[in-house]
């Protein structure tokens, strides 16, 4: 495989993979060569009278035993690799993963939250434990470079969550995909895992902790740009004018006109504070023309709402 092996699991899993590739290639080539040579050797021209072999019990038994033995090995290697991916070391750092249509959110032990735009930042050579929670449909948390994948299930409060864990062995940025079809923007539900050297990570993490505890930044909650990612807005709305599932929020300003559909009727309204608030809390009442009413109502504090509106108007 060309894919980087960037976690402690990757090497073992790739070895199992190569073992199966070797077995498969051998049988595929052997049987194909045998069939093709038979077709040439025993064509009607060359071999007018067939030999009537009805079967051979010894052979039948042999080719029952061969697959049994080989697949037993495949099962065994697959199992021992797998069980490692399920046994989380005690010293693992817990980063909670939330997923929704179509965004990711990573919550660190110190309360720091990172959205899809920032991605997951982790230290190299240290185990990371990831409880996975979905707020709507089934997603799947997949980092191919680490060879891990686990479905992110919506679960009732208090239920046992699915989890994944890894220990990165290479510094760098790797893709995180959603691997379970989750709707229109499934292919955009991509973010990165940034693996930093330990010292660098410690510095970054300390900085974040300091920022969070300092009073005037309010835990980053009033930072509109951050909220835009954490609340998942980023999953459907662009800030650069590209049309996505939802309308782009570029150039939004008080007083400008907008065509909306209200209760099935098209009308033009002027954007004002109350329209913006309503668009966040009851988004499907006045629907921007040409879009489907799929946005979920947002649970926001007054402060958060204002921070978001300020950010939107700044775009």
């Amino acid at each position: 495989m060309w894919l980087l092996e960037a976690s402690t699991f990757a090497k073992d899993i790739d070895n199992t993979f190569l073992f199966i590739v070797a077995v498969s290639a051998f049988f595929l080539i052997a049987i194909t060569v045998f069939m093709i040579s038979c077709i040439f050797l025993y064509s009607k021209k060359r071999n007018a009278t067939p030999t009537d072999v009805h079967g051979n019990t010894t052979l039948e038994i042999v080719w029952i035993i061969i697959p049994v033995v080989l697949t037993s090995f495949m099962f065994y290697y697959g199992w021992i690799d797998y069980i490692k991916t399920r046994q989380v070391p005690d010293n693992a750092m817990e980063i909670k993963v939330d997923a929704g249509m179509w965004w990711w959110k990573f919550t660190y032990p110190n309360g720091l939250e990172q959205g899809s735009d920032q991605g997951l930042t982790v230290p190299v050579n240290s185990p990371i434990y990831l409880p996975l929670h979905s707020v709507d449909v089934v997603h799947s948390f997949s980092i191919p470079a680490f060879r891990i994948k686990m479905d992110v299930m919506p679960k009732p409060e208090g239920a046992k969550l699915n989890y994944s864990w890894f220990e990165a062995t290479k510094v760098g940025d790797f893709d995180i995909y959603c691997a379970e079809y989750c709707g229109i923007n499934h292919a955009q539900m991509i973010t990165k895992v940034h693996v930093l050297p330990k010292a660098e990570f410690e510095k970054w993490y300390q900085q974040a902790t300091n920022d969070l505890s300092s009073a005037n930044t309010d835990g980053g909650k009033s930072n509109g740009k951050k909220l835009f990612a954490l609340k998942g807005c980023i999953g459907c709305h662009s800030t650069d004018g590209t049309k996505r599932v939802g309308p782009s929020l570029k150039g939004l300003s008080i007083g400008s006109n907008r065509k909306v559909v209200t209760a099935g009727k098209l009308r033009t309204i002027q954007i004002d504070q109350s329209y913006l608030e309503q668009s966040l809390t009851k988004p499907n009442i006045d629907l921007v023309e040409g879009f489907t009413p799929i946005m979920p109502p947002q649970q926001l504090t007054d402060q958060e709402r204002q921070a978001l509106i300020d950010y939107l108007l700044s775009l």
């Binding site: 993979f17 049988f27 595929l28 067939p50 009537d52 052979l59 039948e60 029952i64 991916t85 709707g183």
Partner: protein, 568 residues
């Protein structure tokens, strides 16, 4: 059609010209016919139509992925992409490959192979076809009006909450339509299964013991049991999902207390055995084709017959290998991984026996044989790549990636569909009393074979690199964009091959050279001993079997005797 009738009327009593009325009543004479041969052909016409349709949709899906969206390439918008792959999947699976060889050739051949006049319940058989047609129309209309975008697996809670777009401006619940359509199609399948089981137990002609049945009948028998025992479960599961969409209960929606994993269990309890419904009959067809063109007994008749049954049984116990990443317990994962490897054994037995059948044979080369050999080759790749999906650690890495899609197409398209095509070409003269153009069949084969591998090999590679399936577009890195480009070009070759093949078949049916030769390939089984095309009740007299189906030495003796008798 009336001209055709005249030209085919060389044996006055064949099943084509049982209609003497006006042209207006002609369609009804087919749609209300309880003749298993007519029903088989009607399945064939509708299924190959849907096959062509879904292949074109697949072409558009591939075209969409030719370049990454970041380069400004967009053939279909993301909002419709989901509907396109759902449409492709639903048509290919529920309307084409699931009824598959057992509906077309099974209906046509089972009574012929057993020396019977018809299936056990001819009227129920017609009802099955109506259910199929009704379900098919419902599904196609449903998705055209409402653009369901759940994929053919209908995984909740997405399938519960998705709001489908209405193309004509009115609210239309396309997903529920599809679910109900699948339920109706399911009943068609169940009734066919019951019909075939009873036919095999009760209608075999004199002397035909179970172990004198041709292998295609054996696979139909195994398939029928799966159809009868597995389909009701999924039927009711899909119905519950449909009810959940219109009423405020939450059988599978966690927001209302339901459990989406329970749905996946119930769905795969059926849908895993269902892949054996798709593949088993075509394994039977290959087991008919190989000994015929080799002119020697099939190697290991009993082990092939029993391995079909083994596949049908094992198929029930491995469903959860579709769910390794859903968070099942480690123990359950281990058990299902181990059981999954069990399937390798009967599959390997079949492949080894087929290739051994070629040994020291006397092979006459025909398009049907070529497709059958390609079937074995493709199916080997499909089966061997299945090992990666049985082994836990590699399976989790490859799960829900393009690798799975490629694996599935290798078994279902390179396997099942190639096998069905091989069978159709093999039995073409018997079914229509005409001969198709061999040259154009070979050309179609080359295009299909080359195009097939060009389309799906790149998908294996992308999947190994982790690219998830059902992506409208993909990250713009050279590996993905090169592979997607190659795959798209491959799909053009493949679809042109499919179209040429369909053209060859249609032209053969309408304008092919007329033949009345009973046994053009010199086959030893019963279905070739009747007239071409067969008479209404198949055989002119009650049949009796005195030897094994592929006993070519005995068959050659019979031929010598009858020639000698003819000279006297």
């Amino acid at each position: 059609m009336s001209k055709k009738k005249a030209s085919q009327a060389t044996e006055s009593n064949n099943f084509f010209n049982q209609h003497t009325g006006k042209w207006t009543t002609f369609p009804m004479s087919w749609l209300t016919s309880t003749d298993h041969k007519r029903i088989g052909l009607m399945y064939g016409y509708s299924m190959f139509f849907f096959f062509g349709l879904a292949a074109l949709i697949g072409l558009i899906i591939k075209l969409q992925k030719m370049y990454p969206a970041s380069s400004g390439w967009e053939i279909i918008p993301p909002s419709l992409y989901g509907s396109f792959f759902t449409l492709h999947g639903v048509i290919m699976i529920f309307l084409f490959i699931l009824p598959g060889a057992s509906a077309v050739l099974g209906n046509f051949l089972l009574p012929l192979q057993l020396g019977a006049k018809d299936v056990a319940f001819p009227r129920v058989n017609l009802l099955s076809f109506w259910l199929y047609l009704g379900g098919a129309i419902l599904a196609v209309v449903g998705i055209l009006l409402g653009a369901a975008d759940t994929g053919w697996t209908f995984t909740p809670p997405y399938s519960v909450t998705t709001k489908t777009i209405s193309i004509f401006g009115f609210s239309f619940d396309s997903v529920s339509w599809m679910l109900v359509a699948a339920f109706i199609l399911g009943w068609g399948t169940i009734l066919t299964g019951i019909n075939f089981i009873v036919t095999i137990h009760r209608m075999r002609c004199k002397g035909m013991t179970l172990f004198r049945m041709p292998l295609f009948s054996w696979t139909l028998y195994a398939t029928s049991w799966i159809q009868v025992l597995a389909t009701p479960v999924v039927g009711i599961t899909l119905l519950m999902l449909a009810i959940e969409r219109v009423m405020p209960v939450g059988f599978f929606d966690p927001a209302k207390g339901g459990d989406p994993i329970l749905y996946q269990h119930l769905f795969w309890i059926y849908s895993h055995p269902a892949v054996y419904i798709m593949i088993l009959p075509t394994m039977g067809l290959v087991s008919e084709i190989l000994p015929t063109y080799c002119q020697r007994p099939i190697f290991g008749y009993k082990s092939i017959a029993l391995s079909s049954c083994a596949l049908a049984i094992f198929g029930y116990f491995i469903w959860a290998h579709h769910m390794f990443t859903t968070g099942m317990s480690d123990f359950a994962n281990a058990v299902f991984s181990l059981l999954t490897f069990l399937v390798a054994i009967p599959t390997a037995i079949k492949v080894f026996n087929w290739s051994a059948t070629l040994y020291k044979a006397s092979i006459s080369f025909q398009p049907a044989l070529l497709f059958a050999i390609a079937y074995v080759f493709n199916f080997m790749i499909g089966g061997l790549t299945g090992m990666f999906l049985g082994s836990l650690s590699t399976s989790i890495h490859l799960h829900d990636t393009e690798f799975i899609v490629a694996h599935f197409h290798y078994t279902m398209f390179g396997g099942a569909a190639f096998g069905l095509i091989a069978g159709t070409l093999h039995y073409f003269p018997k079914m229509f009393g005409r001969i198709y153009s061999k040259g154009s069949a070979y050309a179609a084969f080359v295009l299909m074979f080359v195009g097939f591998h060009a389309t799906y090999v790149p998908m294996f590679i992308m999947g190994m690199n982790g690219l998830p399936r059902r992506y409208h577009t993909y990250p713009d890195i050279p590996l993905f964009s090169n592979m997607q480009f190659a795959s798209t070009i491959g799909s053009w070759i493949l679809v042109s091959g499919i179209m040429l093949l369909l053209f060859t078949l249609v032209r053969g049916i309408l304008k092919g050279e007329v033949t009345t030769e009973r046994n053009p390939w010199n086959s030893s089984t019963l279905e070739w001993q009747t007239a071409t095309p067969p008479t209404l009740f198949n055989f002119e007299q009650d049949m009796e079997v005195t030897r094994d189906p592929y006993d070519y030495p005995a068959f050659r003796l019979e031929q010598k005797k009858s020639k000698a008798g003819g000279k006297k």
